[in-house]
């Protein structure tokens, strides 16, 4: 008997997802006085790694010491645990929706290797830029935008300007 290939479930309506995330942000402000975050967790994990390899070096460095100095455990942190939840939630939803699959997502006109090199380079630039902006799409745009931080709105406008400016150059990678 042939096993029927499972089709992925359709995506949810973006406005329903947005409304849901909006409620989640309200709840987060209600409980903790802060919104959501993402890139902060990567900072915390990196500082923990550097601290594990070279403790004195990490404590002397002004960037890493902020995450590891004088804390119980650097990974016992709100945003690190929240991002662990994002990973878990993504995994569960991916399995349930039939979208969990080992693959490289890319446009049809680019090789897997080129795509991975671009993914690495873009990730590097994005994280470096997030240090200048003090946050990413979650911690600054979503959360700061909701509480009307001028910086958050400036950031969003700038991200869209940068994205549209480079989209033409990058078209071969995606379409």
């Amino acid at each position: 008997m042939l096993r029927k290939k499972r089709e992925p479930q359709p995506y949810w309506n973006p406005y329903i997802v947005g409304f849901g995330i909006g409620l989640l942000i309200i709840l987060s402000f209600f409980v903790t006085g802060r919104g959501l975050g993402a890139v902060g967790a990567f900072n915390g994990i990196l500082a923990t790694l550097v601290h594990a390899i070279a403790p004195e070096y990490a404590l002397a460095n002004p960037v890493y010491s902020g995450y590891v100095a004088g804390v119980d455990h650097p990974l016992k942190d709100w945003v690190v645990i929240e991002i662990a939840g994002v990973c878990l939630g993504g995994l569960l939803s991916g399995i349930v929706s039939g979208r969990f699959k080992f693959e490289v997502i890319k446009g049809p006109r680019i090789s897997n290797l080129s795509r991975l090199v671009l993914a690495f380079s873009g990730g590097l630039l994005m994280a470096f830029a997030a240090k200048f902006t003090r946050g990413c799409t979650s911690g600054l745009a979503l959360s700061g935008g909701s509480v009307l931080s001028p910086g958050a709105w400036l950031f969003m406008i700038s991200v869209f300007i940068g994205g549209y400016a480079i989209a033409f150059l990058m078209r071969k990678a995606w379409n």
Binding site: W12, Y15, F29, L36, V86, L92, I105, L125, A127
Partner: protein, 199 residues
């Protein structure tokens, strides 16, 4: 009515409960991102080719929802908005950093939050984004003394937009909501014209 929230500042909330709340919040956030299709870099970047405006729709409908909710909780005296965290504004670092972030976003196709969803749904390009992000943050950690002046340039503190423009909070919330509704309508028109959304 007594100001009761943020709960963390006004009640003795045990750390374990807060961390459990963090985990549950994250799980729901991750599920929403996955359900929107944001584990898929190619779907996300279609925003920048006008064929699938999901990223814009999710981002702004979440912000408008949260903005209205937080405003009303504050107005009704349930949430003390003087206690909530407002991201600091650094004019030029956030403009220049935002443009570079936009470049990085379209080059790699994911943002830090959605990269987690990509990795945990098996997308190998997400793993490469993870690796790049750690290297980027490490480079920053090593060069911070040279960048410190630049990243703190034009700091404006923790002001809000309505304080900056000397406006009424409710009026600004209303104006942004109306503008967003117009933008949602426009996004729909753009998709009708250029739409080719990936399923």
């Amino acid at each position: 009515m007594e100001l009761a929230a943020p709960l963390q500042f006004n009640y003795q909330v045990p750390e374990g409960i807060l961390l459990l709340f963090a985990l549950l919040t994250g799980i729901v956030f991750g599920m929403f991102l996955e359900k929107a299709g944001f584990g898929n870099a190619r779907k996300l970047v279609q925003q920048f080719y006008f064929s699938d405006m999901s990223m814009f729709k999710v981002l702004f409908s979440a912000i408008v929802t949260a903005m209205i909710g937080i405003y009303w909780l504050g107005y009704l005296g349930v949430l003390d908005i003087t206690q909530i965290y407002i991201n600091g504004t650094y004019l030029w670092p956030q403009i220049v950093g935002g443009i570079l972030f936009g470049f990085g976003f379209v080059i790699c196709g994911l943002c830090p939050g959605t990269s987690c969803v990509a990795v945990f749904t098996g997308k190998l390009d997400g793993l490469a984004v993870f690796a790049g992000m750690f290297v980027g943050l490490f480079l920053y950690g090593e060069t911070e003394p040279f960048l410190r002046k630049a990243i703190n340039y034009s700091a404006m503190g923790d002001v809000s937009l309505y304080e900056l423009f000397n406006m009424n909070y409710g009026v600004l919330t209303f104006i942004i909501t109306i503008v967003a509704l117009g933008a949602f309508w426009l996004a729909g028109r753009v998709e009708q014209r250029y739409g080719n959304s990936l399923s």
